[in-house]
């Protein structure tokens, strides 16, 4: 493992989290607007939206650490015809700029809600395309450990799982902050938005957790079945050398997305237990974030190319 692969671990994980947050936030905002009104829907989601910005910029900056010659970086978008890496970089740039424009318009309430929603929808679609292209980058015919549908599925699980839990944490944090400052308009409505959102986030987490726990054994079994020297070496890197980290990843994922989520669901029965909801939301997010970073570490670590 080269030290500069940390930049790829951080970039892919954080960028996927940002895309997931943007998409989930869009969904929450859409339903909250239909149920109440745009103003009520904006209260919790606008702050969460603004938090995505610095995270994305950090992720983009980190990628420069991966380059041997960062001064040439702008050239990375010049082979869109055949290079998925070029497409990934281009989509990441468009997502970053589009997201920034949308967040600014939403913050300052520039233009009409319809136009803002349309822009938001386009940016969300670009984000999902970005995650797709990120996965395609790793589908190299020369790397059996990466060249699997599991790469695509896992990248989308990371996107939606981390996105959901990040939005969940941001909502509780914002809710408690505004309530603490007695700055929360129509708190019944806001608690309803908070609790409905978190219930959905718990359901999404549990489903994704289930899918992940099906995909991982299928992936390993498929890799073992290929039986090539490179495939077997990759399995060994995951299960032998990386065995402890792999186990830790699964445990953190199960506890974070599974157990903490279920307790979070139960804590939503009463507004008075919001503090407990917060602790559970932050813990679930932290556990899953660490789990995903470990998973991504093992993903890069398991890279063995065929040939010589």
């Amino acid at each position: 493992m080269q030290a500069n692969e940390w930049s790829l671990i951080i970039f892919t994980t954080v960028m996927q989290m940002a895309v997931g947050s943007f998409v989930i936030l869009g969904g929450v905002h859409f339903f909250a607007t239909r149920r109440y009104d745009a103003q009520a829907a904006d209260t919790l989601s606008d702050r969460a939206l603004l938090a995505i910005g610095p995270i994305v910029i950090l992720a983009m900056l980190v990628t420069f650490l991966h380059l041997g010659n960062p001064l040439n970086a702008p050239r990375a978008i010049s082979n869109l015809g055949s290079s998925w890496l070029s497409r990934e970089v281009t989509l990441a740039a468009i997502f970053t700029i589009g997201g920034a424009v949308f967040a600014f318009m939403q913050w300052r309430k520039i233009s009409t809600a319809t136009i803002r929603n349309t822009i938001g929808l386009v940016v969300a679609a670009i984000g999902l395309l970005l995650v797709w292209s990120m996965a395609q980058v790793y589908l190299l015919p020369t790397v059996p450990a990466w060249n699997s549908p599991a790469t695509v599925v896992t990248f989308f699980i990371t996107t939606l799982l981390l996105g959901s839990l990040a939005v969940g944490s941001a909502f509780v944090l914002t809710y408690q902050y505004l309530r603490g400052r007695n700055n929360l308009p129509s708190s019944d409505t806001q608690f309803d938005i908070l609790s409905t959102t978190l219930r959905w986030i718990v359901l999404i987490s549990l489903v994704l957790l289930g899918v992940q726990f099906v995909v991982i054994p299928l992936y390993l079994a498929n890799l073992a079945e290929q039986g090539s020297e490179a495939a077997m070496a990759s399995i060994s890197l995951i299960l032998d050398q990386g065995g402890a980290l792999f186990a830790l990843r699964l445990i953190l994922l199960f506890v974070g997305a599974g157990i903490f989520s279920i307790f979070m669901y139960r804590s939503l029965s009463s507004e008075s237990r919001t503090r407990m909801t917060g602790y559970l939301a932050y813990s679930a997010f932290a556990f899953v974030l660490i789990s995903e970073i470990l998973g991504r570490f093992l993903f890069y670590e398991s890279m063995i190319r065929i040939g010589m």
Partner: protein, 206 residues
């Protein structure tokens, strides 16, 4: 369309002296850790019990000298985000070091380990078929250096017509991934790709 260049490697003549590797390194003044041409040592064997109860070994070893194969379907060119990696009319795959960003994606993709990262300059480097020598009518340094006449170059169509089409033996990857412009005369002990009967024993050198 100009004729494509390729290498012909005769494994039955190679002694594993690595003069090709050293000549390449010297000619292009490559730093430590960067070896555009490398010689893989592939060996295997075990104890075999004969019908009469005696036991003997069937140990084997052979060498494969590999640089860039200037493939017909170069995966490095396909995946390069900058177009720094490009292919000339004559088939030579080159990296434009003034454009390369040093992302090392081609290094992940190439199953022959041809594109190599030069830490000193932060960009990828690779075999350029000694195109400057070719312009002067000389052979590439590796070909010229081979004392056992195991390594040749030329128009790949002519090489194939003369020596056949084989381009994959262990420990090389399957040829259909990149369609290398390489012809191999296999050693009599040569194993098919992916064979479990031997292994590369000098991985730190290749």
């Amino acid at each position: 369309m100009a004729n494509k260049l390729g290498f012909y490697f005769n494994a039955t003549a190679c002694t594993g002296c690595k003069a090709c590797q050293v000549a390449c390194k010297d000619k292009s003044d490559l730093p430590v850790g960067v070896n555009w041409r490398r010689v893989a040592e592939y060996t295997g064997g075990e104890w075999v019990t004969n019908p009469d109860g005696t036991v003997e070994q069937n140990v084997f070893a052979y060498y494969t000298s590999i640089a860039c194969n200037h493939c017909t379907n170069p995966i490095c060119v396909e995946v390069c985000p900058t177009q720094a990696m490009h292919q000339r009319e004559d088939g030579i795959v080159m990296v434009d070091e003034s454009i390369c960003i040093g992302c090392r994606y081609c290094e992940w993709a190439c199953p022959y380990g041809a594109p190599q990262f030069n830490e000193e300059v932060g960009v990828m480097t690779k075999c350029n078929f000694c195109y400057d020598y070719l312009d002067e009518g000389q052979s590439p340094a590796c070909v010229a250096a081979c004392p056992s006449r195991a390594l040749f170059f030329g128009d790949i169509d002519e090489l194939r017509a003369e020596h056949g089409e084989l381009a994959e033996i262990a420990p090389l990857p399957p040829a259909d991934i990149t369609e290398p412009n390489l012809v191999i005369e296999p050693h009599h002990n040569a194993k098919p790709i992916g064979s479990p009967s031997g292994k590369l024993i000098n991985p730190e050198e290749v």
